[in-house]
C-alpha cells in the first residue's frame, strides 16, 4: 500500500526496460523518494564515478504519499551523482509528473548506462518504451512537452524533460516537468543529457491505495486544516508565494546582493511579491495572474505570471506573451538581488528562459553575479565576454546571458560551468559564492547564522532546502531563535536536516513544515504505509538518510575541509542592517555539529553512529 512496489529499470546502453519489485526492506528503512532512491544509488553506483559518464545512474523516485490526497502529495525527486558538485544530488519537484508515475504503477525509474542516440522514455501505465528523440534534440522544455504530447496524441501525458541546457552539459541544468516545475539543483539535467536521455513522459490511469484509508483520510484532513489555519501556509504563501520573503529577508539584512558584496538590496521592493501584484503593462494587469497548486497541494504557492508585452525582452516575441511559471523567491533573488537587477519584467523573462531551457536560476543568477564582479574588477573584459557588458544592475546583460547560457553560446558556455569553475578559471576562486561547487541561495549567513552551517554541511552543496533554519530564525517556526546568534544552531540544523530528509522521502512538500511538524506528518505516513511510522522513527529515518548521503560524499572524496563557506562570508563583515559588522560564525558551530552528529573531527560518521542507524 502507498508504494506501488514496482520499479522500472531502464538500461539506456541496451535499450531495455525491466520491471522489478521494490526492495521493501529498504522501503521500511528509507521510506521512499530521496531516502530510498539514495539507498539504491549507494548500492549501485561507485561514489568516485564520473557524474557525466555512463557508469553514473539517475533515479526518478516518488514517495509513498505521492499520488494520495495528503496535501502536497505529488512530489518526486531525481537522485544521482551531481556534476556541479561531485556530491550526491537529490533535486525535488512538484507539478503533476510524480503523481502520474504512481498512477502508472511505478514507485521509481532507475536509468543506467548511456544511449548511443538521443531517446526519450514513455511510460503509459505498465508499458514502458524508449523512443528515438533525434527530432527533440535542440528543443526547449516547452517545445519538447508539446512535441511528445503531440507524438503520442495524448494531452493528458505529463512530461519531465531537459531543455538545451541539459543537452549542452550546463553544469546546473535542471529537469523540468509540467513546463515550469523543476528538479532544479546540482545539475541533474546535465546527467540526463550525458545519457542521451531527453525526456520521460508518463500517463497513468491506475489508482494509488493506502493501508488504512479511514485513518488516512482523517489524518490528511486534519493536516489540511492545520495548513489552512496557519498564517504562512494558509495566507502568506497562497497570496504572495515564496516571494513573500523578499522584503522580509531584505529588512532582516540577509539578502545577498551583488555577489554578496552587500547584504541589503535597494531594489528589493521592485522585485518583490508586492510589486508582482501591482498593475503593469498596457492591459493594466499585474505580473501575477494566478496562483497554482502542484498536485494535491492545498497551499498553492506557485506563481503564474505574464511579461508586459511592451517590455524590451518580448516586444518582438509574441510567443512569450502568454502566462507561465512566474518568479519564486529564490529565482527573483538570484536573477535580481545577486546581479543587482531590479527590472521585474526582465527577471520574469529570465525566469521563463530558465524554465524553457532547463536552467537552475539560483546557480545561474549567482554565477552571473560573480561574473559581474569579475567584470567590474577588470578580471574579465568585453573580449572575453564577447561584448557582453556584465555590469551589476544591467537587465540587458542578464537577459542576454540567460539566452546564451542554455545554448552554450559565446560567454554563455563559461557561465554554464557555474561560479566556482568560472572564478577559478580567472584566478579569483574566492569570489565564487559556492559550497562544494554549488551556489548558495537567497539567505546570507552573516544575517542568518544558521544558514551558514546549513550551506556548509549540505550534502548536495550549498542549499537552503536541506535545513531551512530561516523558518526558526526569521519566521519563528517552530520557535524563534536569534538569527545573529550561533548558540544552539548546530542542534537546530541537525534537527532540521533529519526532519527534512524524512519529509523529502515521503512524497510531501517541505513547505508544509511551515505549519506541520513531524507530529502532523507521522500520522499521515503511518496510515498510508505498512509499518509503524512515528515522529521518532521518521526522524531516525531522516538521520539515516543524512548519514548515508554523507558516506557517499566521503567516499567520493569530500572531507571536512569541504564543509566551508566562501571567504567573503567569513571575512567581510555585513555593511548594513541588523547584521552590520558580523561575519559567519561557522567555526563556532561546525565542531559542535560534528559532535551532535556522532561524527569524528574529520566529519566522518563513527562506527557507533553507523551501527546505531543500521548503516
Amino acid at each position: 500500500m502507498a508504494w506501488t512496489r514496482q520499479i522500472l529499470r531502464v538500461n539506456l546502453t541496451n535499450g531495455t526496460c525491466t520491471p522489478e519489485s521494490l526492495n521493501m526492506d529498504w522501503a521500511d528503512k528509507y521510506l521512499g523518494q530521496r531516502g530510498l532512491a539514495s539507498r539504491y544509488l549507494v548500492e549501485e553506483v561507485d561514489p568516485k564515478v564520473d557524474p557525466l559518464g555512463p557508469d553514473n545512474k539517475i533515479i526518478f523516485a516518488t514517495g509513498p504519499l505521492t499520488g494520495t490526497c495528503a496535501s502536497t502529495g505529488g512530489r518526486y525527486s531525481v537522485i544521482t551523482k551531481g556534476p556541479l558538485t561531485g556530491a550526491i544530488a537529490c533535486s525535488n519537484s512538484g507539478g503533476y509528473w510524480g503523481a502520474e508515475l504512481k498512477f502508472a504503477g511505478w514507485d521509481m525509474i532507475i536509468f543506467e548506462g548511456k544511449s548511443a542516440n538521443p531517446v526519450y522514455l514513455s511510460v503509459i501505465d505498465d508499458k514502458a518504451t524508449l523512443h528515438d528523440a533525434s527530432d527533440l534534440v535542440g528543443k526547449s522544455v516547452w517545445e519538447t512537452d508539446a512535441a511528445i504530447k503531440s507524438a503520442h496524441q495524448d494531452p493528458m501525458m505529463h512530461v519531465s524533460t531537459i531543455g538545451v541546457a541539459g543537452e549542452n552539459a550546463v553544469l546546473y541544468a535542471c529537469i523540468v516537468n509540467d513546463l515550469h516545475r523543476a528538479a532544479g539543483r546540482s545539475g541533474v539535467g546535465a546527467v540526463m543529457g550525458s545519457k542521451n536521455l531527453k525526456a520521460v513522459a508518463v500517463r497513468g490511469t491506475g489508482g494509488v491505495a493506502v493501508n488504512d484509508p479511514v485513518t488516512f483520510l482523517a489524518a490528511t484532513a486534519a493536516g489540511k486544516k492545520t495548513l489552512a489555519e496557519n498564517a504562512v501556509t494558509g495566507e502568506g504563501l497562497p497570496t504572495y508565494g515564496t516571494q513573500v520573503l523578499m522584503n522580509v529577508i531584505n529588512e532582516a539584512g540577509a539578502l545577498p546582493t551583488r555577489n554578496s558584496r552587500d547584504i541589503q538590496f535597494e531594489g528589493a521592493h521592485d522585485i518583490s511579491a508586492e510589486a508582482m501584484a501591482e498593475p503593469s503593462g498596457k492591459d493594466g494587469k499585474p505580473n501575477l495572474l494566478a496562483n497554482q497548486g502542484c498536485f494535491a497541494c492545498t497551499i498553492a504557492c506557485g506563481r503564474i505570471s505574464k511579461i508586459n508585452e511592451e517590455h524590451y525582452t518580448v516586444v518582438n516575441k509574441p510567443e512569450y506573451w502568454h502566462a507561465s511559471g512566474g518568479l519564486e523567491y529564490e529565482a527573483a533573488w538570484a536573477l535580481g538581488a545577486a546581479t543587482g537587477v531590479k527590472d521585474l519584467d526582465a527577471l520574469t523573462y529570465a525566469n521563463f528562459i530558465c524554465n524553457e531551457q532547463g536552467i537552475d536560476p539560483i546557480s545561474f543568477g549567482s554565477t552571473v553575479g560573480a561574473a559581474m564582479e569579475l567584470y567590474e574588477e577588470g578580471v574579465i573584459n568585453n573580449e572575453i565576454t564577447g561584448g557582453l557588458e556584465l555590469k551589476f544592475g544591467s537587465a540587458e546583460a542578464l537577459t542576454t546571458a540567460v539566452e546564451l547560457t542554455g545554448k552554450a553560446e559565446g560567454f554563455g558556455r563559461e557561465l554554464g560551468q557555474g561560479s566556482a569553475r568560472l572564478c577559478a578559471k580567472y584566478g579569483r576562486p574566492e569570489l565564487s559564492q559556492t559550497v562544494k561547487g554549488q551556489e548558495f541561495p537567497a539567505y546570507d549567513p552573516r544575517g542568518i547564522q544558521g544558514m551558514g552551517l546549513t550551506y556548509a554541511t549540505s550534502n548536495r552543496g550549498a542549499c537552503h532546502l536541506r535545513s531551512y533554519t530561516v523558518a526558526s530564525e526569521i519566521l519563528g517556526i517552530p520557535e524563534k531563535t536569534d538569527p545573529l546568534a550561533t548558540d544552539g544552531k548546530a542542534g537546530l540544523v541537525k534537527a532540521f536536516q533529519d526532519a527534512t530528509a524524512a519529509v523529502d522521502s515521503s512524497g510531501l512538500c517541505l513547505f508544509t513544515t511551515f505549519a506541520w511538524t513531524l507530529e502532523d506528518i507521522a500520522p499521515q505516513v503511518d496510515a498510508a504505509c505498512e509499518g509503524n511510522w512515528s515522529p521518532d522513527s521518521l526522524l531516525e529515518c531522516g538521520e539515516r538518510i543524512w548519514n548515508l548521503e554523507r558516506q557517499f560524499n566521503n567516499q567520493a572524496g569530500f572531507t571536512a575541509a569541504d564543509d566551508k563557506l566562501p571567504e567573503r562570508l567569513m571575512k567581510d563583515a555585513a555593511k548594513t542592517g541588523p547584521a552590520e559588522g558580523l561575519v559567519s560564525g561557522l567555526d563556532k558551530m561546525l565542531p559542535e555539529y560534528y559532535e551532535l552528529r556522532g561524527w569524528t573531527n574529520e566529519g566522518v560518521p563513527t562506527n557507533e553512529t553507523l551501527s546505531r542507524l543500521g548503516l
Binding site: 491506475g206 489508482g207 497562497p238 502568454h322
Partner: protein, 157 residues
C-alpha cells in the same frame, strides 16, 4: 430546494484534490482517471477549470437510457442504477456535456451523483472553487442556458 455544485474557475488552483476525493469516494483508491470531476489546465491563460455533470433538469443521459437505469432523486440528482445499467453507452454519446463516461472495469457508466447529497469534491476543495449550494445561482443558470442550446426541441414552456 435543489442544491447544486457551483464552480468558480477563478478560484481554482489546479490542485486536483477534487479528483482525488471523488475517485476515493467512488473507487476506494486515489485515481484521477476515474474521477467524476476533472480539472482542466489552461496554463497559458492562467486558468484552471473544474468540470463535472450539471445534473440538468431534462437530462439527455436519462432520456436516452434504454433501460431506465438513470433516475432522478429528490434533490434533482441523476443517478446511475448499476443493476439496471447494461453498459450500452448510449448516454455517453447523448450527454452533450460529456460528463457520463464508460468504466470498462465495471462495464457500467459512471457520472457525478453528488455523493448522495454530500459531495466529496466540494468538501475537499481548499479554495471554495467548488461549493455545494442552492441552485438559485448565476453559475447554474448559465449552465442551464447552455444546456438548452443542445435541445433538439425548442420547448415553448
Amino acid at each position: 430546494m435543489q442544491r447544486a455544485l457551483v464552480i468558480d474557475p477563478g478560484k481554482c488552483t489546479g490542485c486536483k484534490q477534487c479528483e482525488l476525493a471523488c475517485s476515493y469516494e467512488k473507487e476506494g483508491v486515489f485515481n484521477p482517471a476515474k474521477s467524476r470531476i476533472r480539472v482542466f489546465d489552461f496554463h497559458q491563460n492562467a486558468r484552471f477549470v473544474p468540470y463535472t455533470c450539471t445534473q440538468c433538469d431534462e437530462a439527455w443521459c436519462q432520456q436516452a437510457c434504454p433501460t431506465n437505469a438513470i433516475t432522478t432523486d429528490a434533490f434533482g440528482v441523476k443517478n446511475v442504477n448499476d443493476s439496471l445499467c447494461v453498459g450500452c453507452k448510449v448516454c455517453t454519446i447523448a450527454c452533450p456535456f460529456g460528463t457520463v463516461n464508460y468504466n470498462a472495469t465495471t462495464g457500467k457508466v459512471i457520472k457525478c451523483d453528488m455523493c448522495g447529497g454530500d459531495p466529496a469534491c466540494a468538501k475537499a476543495c481548499p479554495t471554495d472553487a467548488i461549493v455545494y449550494t442552492d441552485v438559485e445561482q448565476a453559475g447554474y443558470d448559465k449552465m442551464a442556458a447552455w444546456a438548452k442550446r443542445t435541445d433538439a426541441g425548442a420547448q415553448a414552456n
